[in-house]
């Protein structure tokens, strides 16, 4: 094989699994290190630069980083990355105004309209205001926040945290127009904005069209609309027995909210077995901890109405044949009537754009949603951009934030008359972390501690009101232990073949046998000769230049390396060095020069 080119930022970026998995590329190991040093404010600001809402995401992020965490490869649970983010948000300085982006008094004369005050639009405004743009956000509801406010119950995300982090953006001098739904795209375009960003989310909950739906409608609710009505205190109670249809994260929020509005017996009815659930494992766990019953293999058949009132639901009981994780056959084995007072449908959501005229020159696809470029986030109508759930359907907050960052760059380039596709590259900086002969400026000793468990408010205290936050946050002791679990994947093992004397010291000390010295061969043979069998082919393989003495090559399976730096400690010639990789992801302000 040819020597690996590690100069491309992607190579080392991929090694930092959490950062690679995070859509907004938050530098997780670095902020965990800052937390370990007690620099909570710095950790918070560093988070804010990439993910904009650290306090919010530290509670409710979908955490794509955690399944990717390197710690998970050692038969252990991943580092509690998300909850450590909350630690930074909880313990930072009250007043961070001096650390937020500076907004120029003199504007650049370009006006941007943003539709919907959710995470996508707020991110776009957050990126464009410091450049000098004038942003106007149109929000249909009485308060900003979008889905974060309407769909995430306050026992998971306290209003104070939400208000504070949204205010950091709205206080930048944004013209925020609440209770101002946009009824016509054409009308908005006629107002002469330089660019329009659509961040209106996916506000349409999916229906369940089975017999009895019409007649029982007084007690059959659409999940996301129902959560919104609870959030604005229009709905304050629910029946004693509640059925939730669907088993995604919205279903989890619906069942737990029901318990706080007076329900005593809540069942989540799932059509398929547990392996096929859409909800995140931790959300399922939290719901089950509150004694929500999750019933699998029940497919809705009809609503049962007696005297014009919903009294229950009939389900088909289904059995599945599963092969290699896929359903190959299903068989209805019977049916059952489950009595209930209310039903909440949490079957997913869609975006809908009844307010965009179809004769504006904007192309719509076969599902009647606008065609949006996946890099520039521009629709086929120049100057109109989409992001968040409005762009490619429901995802989650952290994706919406990244869409916002990218759309902001496009909007800037559009307004300056530049090519949207000529975007700045990601930059990488490597710096040695060597302090002395065998000393590094990071905590490299492998800590075998298990993941700390998040403490929750007692069950007896939880259901008194809607706003008691369930998770208590990590204690100082838990934080101290959890930060040490991070393996410092951003401190890269960098190899200099010209220095190597082939003494084998690194190969012998490596606790995971991720290093191999072998005659060079083609990819297949080289993989065959690895000391530890290759388990994950997605992860990069490092092949060095030819070594001086025997003309062999050093091969490293990045998948197995735990960044303990013992190879570098044992190397007599410093052929291995531990170097911190720092990536710079360009934002709108960088494009503005």
């Amino acid at each position: 094989m040819k020597p690996t080119n590690t100069n491309k930022p992607d190579y080392f970026h991929k090694v930092v699994d959490c950062q690679w998995a995070c859509p907004a590329h938050t530098d997780v190991p670095e902020y965990i290190r800052k937390i370990s040093q007690g620099n909570f404010t710095e950790a918070y600001i560093q988070n804010r630069e990439s993910n904009v809402f650290p306090g919010i995401l530290g509670r409710v992020c979908d955490r794509p980083c955690e399944p990717a965490c390197r710690r998970g490869r050692t038969n252990e649970a991943p580092v509690a990355i998300c909850r450590l983010k909350r630690v930074a948000a909880d313990h930072r300085d009250e007043d961070i105004s001096g650390l937020l982006p500076v907004i120029p008094k003199k504007k650049n004369g370009k006006k941007i309209a943003l539709i919907g005050a959710g995470c996508a639009s707020l991110t776009v405004a957050n990126d464009l205001m410091p450049v000098g743009y004038e942003c106007t956000i149109f929000e249909a509801l009485a308060e900003p926040g979008g889905l974060m406010r309407t769909n995430i119950p306050s026992f998971r995300l306290p209003e104070k945290v939400l208000d504070e982090e949204i205010a950091y953006i709205t206080d930048m001098g944004i013209d925020l127009r609440l209770n101002h739904p946009i009824k016509s795209m054409k009308g908005l375009l006629d107002e002469g904005y330089d660019a329009v960003f659509v961040g209106s989310g996916a506000p349409k909950g999916k229906e369940l069209k089975i017999p009895g739906r019409e007649e029982g409608s007084a007690n059959i609710h659409i999940g996301i609309s129902w959560l919104e009505s609870v959030a604005f205190e229009h709905t304050e109670s629910i029946g004693k027995r509640v059925l939730i249809i669907g088993v995604g994260n919205t279903a989890m929020d619906c069942c737990r909210t029901s318990l706080r509005l007076g329900a005593k017996d809540v069942k989540v009815m799932a059509r398929k077995p547990r392996d096929f659930f859409k909800a995140s494992d931790w959300e399922l766990e939290d719901a089950e901890e509150e004694n929500v019953e999750i019933i699998v293999n029940h497919s809705p058949k009809e609503f049962v109405i007696e005297d014009g009132r919903l009294v229950g639901m009939v389900f088909n009981q289904v059995e599945y044949d599963i092969e290699h994780g896929r359903i190959v056959n299903q068989l209805t084995t019977g049916e059952v009537m489950v009595p209930c007072d209310d039903v909440i449908l949490a079957l997913g959501q869609e975006n809908a754009f009844p307010w965009i005229e179809r004769d504006l020159g904007m192309e719509f696809d076969q599902w009647d949603v606008p065609v949006v470029d996946t890099t520039t986030f521009e629709s086929t109508l120049p100057g109109v951009f989409f992001g968040g759930d409005a762009a490619f359907g429901p995802k989650n907050i952290i994706w919406a934030v990244e869409h916002g960052h990218q759309a902001a760059i496009s909007i800037h380039r559009h307004c300056q008359g530049e090519d949207l596709n000529e975007r700045l590259p990601v930059l990488m900086n490597l710096g040695s972390r060597k302090m002395g002969m065998h000393e590094w400026s990071f905590s490299n000793d492998f800590d075998p501690a298990a993941r700390r468990k998040m403490e929750h408010v007692e069950l007896s205290q939880r259901f008194k009101d809607l706003t008691t936050e369930v998770e208590l946050g990590f204690t100082a002791e838990q934080t101290q232990r959890e930060v040490e679990r991070c393996l410092n994947c951003d401190i890269q093992t960098v190899f200099f073949a010209s220095e190597c004397i082939e003494c084998d010291a690194c190969l012998d000390i490596c606790p995971t046998q991720c290093l191999t010295m072998t005659p060079n061969a083609d990819r297949v043979d080289l993989i065959d000769s690895l000391k530890a069998p290759r388990r994950n082919h997605e992860q990069p393989l490092f092949v060095s230049e030819e070594l001086k003495q025997t003309k062999r090559v050093m091969v490293k399976d990045e998948n197995l390396c735990l960044h303990c730096s013992l190879c570098a400690e044992r190397c007599p010639t410093a052929a291995w060095d531990m170097q911190k990789s720092l990536f710079n992801f360009p934002r709108a302000i960088d494009h503005a020069g």
Partner: protein, 351 residues
């Protein structure tokens, strides 16, 4: 050296040997040798050999004298027995251990100073008695622990780190051992893991004293230009005389070899050594031709490696002494001490 221990990490799909142990189970304490020391490589090779042979660590006794090399038994098989003896006196303690419990697998780790200077006499007698052990000489040509003076193994004309030229002829452990009647003599290099592990396995299974001299560069005091024990010099002059395959008892010899190109040596437990000649005419079972060959290659300045001489038929110490098949530690007190009556009878026989 490093200041943190190699962590024990629970990885999925780790391979266990025939007795269910992981390679980690054959490791020892944290090495305090210099970073890049050849000795650490040899330690790793020992771990690999014992793990591959599935020998329970508690069936092993590790013995050593004094020196950098003699520290290393602490770095492998924490579960084995061990004795760190006086300088150069490892073979005496090994003799005692063997006499007391012949079932233990005995591994002695010594250095060129420990065996060829202060312990030269002991070394000779261990070879002569054909003590059933594996005797490793970690040979770096210098006294590393006292800051790099030439040892008796340093080649004449080689240069010390500060520039001194060695004026004395070296003692060659390999030809010395052969001339003293050794049954198994090999030379290897810490930088050739594959060869070293095979030789260690062969040595462990060999019924008698298996001498393995391993060139093990001292990165701190003897790894510079002008040294004849450096990584570069050894690799440049490296010359394997034969290639050894170790075939465990249960396995058949699969590959076919052309007549005259390889020699098969059968060991007492039924395992076999397959010696593939790389130099034509080299016969590791013929003592006089081996001596001639070694002399010839020495004149060329080559570092000859591989299994250089073997005679699996030579009786080891217990056979020569006709001792009890039961290890002495397992004999009943009455058998070991039959009483004054028996003593009187014995003495009567000698009057």
């Amino acid at each position: 050296m490093s200041f943190i221990r190699k962590p024990r990490i629970d990885l999925p799909n780790q391979r266990a040997n025939a007795i269910g142990l992981l390679k980690q189970d054959y490791e020892g304490g944290m090495s305090t040798l210099c970073a890049g020391c050849g000795h650490d490589s040899i330690t790793a090779a020992i771990v690999e050999a014992f793990w591959e042979l599935s020998i329970p660590p508690e069936k092993v006794v590790k013995l050593s004298g004094i020196g950098c090399s003699s520290k290393t038994p602490a770095y492998f098989m924490s579960g084995a027995h061990g004795f760190n003896s006086v300088h150069g006196r490892m073979p005496s303690v090994a003799t005692g251990a063997q006499a007391g419990n012949r079932e233990l697998i005995c591994i002695g780790v010594s250095g060129d100073g420990d065996s060829l200077s202060i312990g030269f006499g002991q070394f000779g007698h261990a070879v002569r008695r054909n003590l059933n052990m594996i005797y490793i000489i970690e040979n770096n040509g210098v006294y590393g622990l006292t800051k790099g003076q030439f040892s008796a193994a340093a080649d004449k004309g080689s240069k010390a780190k500060k520039g001194d030229i060695n004026q004395w002829k070296n003692i060659d452990s390999v030809s010395t051992a052969i001339s003293m009647g050794s049954s198994f003599v090999a030379r290897s290099f810490s930088g050739d893991r594959e060869q070293l592990v095979t030789l260690l396995k062969a040595g462990i299974m060999h019924p008698g004293c298996a001498i393995i001299d391993v060139v093990s560069p001292c990165v701190t005091f003897n790894n510079h230009p002008g040294s004849t024990k450096s990584y570069t010099y050894t690799r440049d002059h490296y010359h394997p005389a034969s290639q050894t395959d170790f075939v465990p008892q249960a396995n058949e010899i699969r590959a076919s070899y052309a007549e005259g190109e390889s020699i098969i040596v059968e060991l007492h437990d039924g395992s076999k050594l397959l010696l593939k000649k790389t130099d034509s005419g080299y016969d590791a079972t013929n003592r006089s031709s081996v001596m001639r060959y070694l002399e010839q290659q020495r004149a060329r300045g080559e570092v000859v490696t591989g299994l250089l001489y073997i005679n699996a038929e030579l009786p080891e110490m217990h056979r020569i002494y006709r001792t009890s098949d039961t290890p002495m530690k397992d004999l009943e007190y009455e058998d070991l001490n039959p009483g004054s009556e028996e003593l009187a009878k014995l003495q009567a026989r000698m009057r």
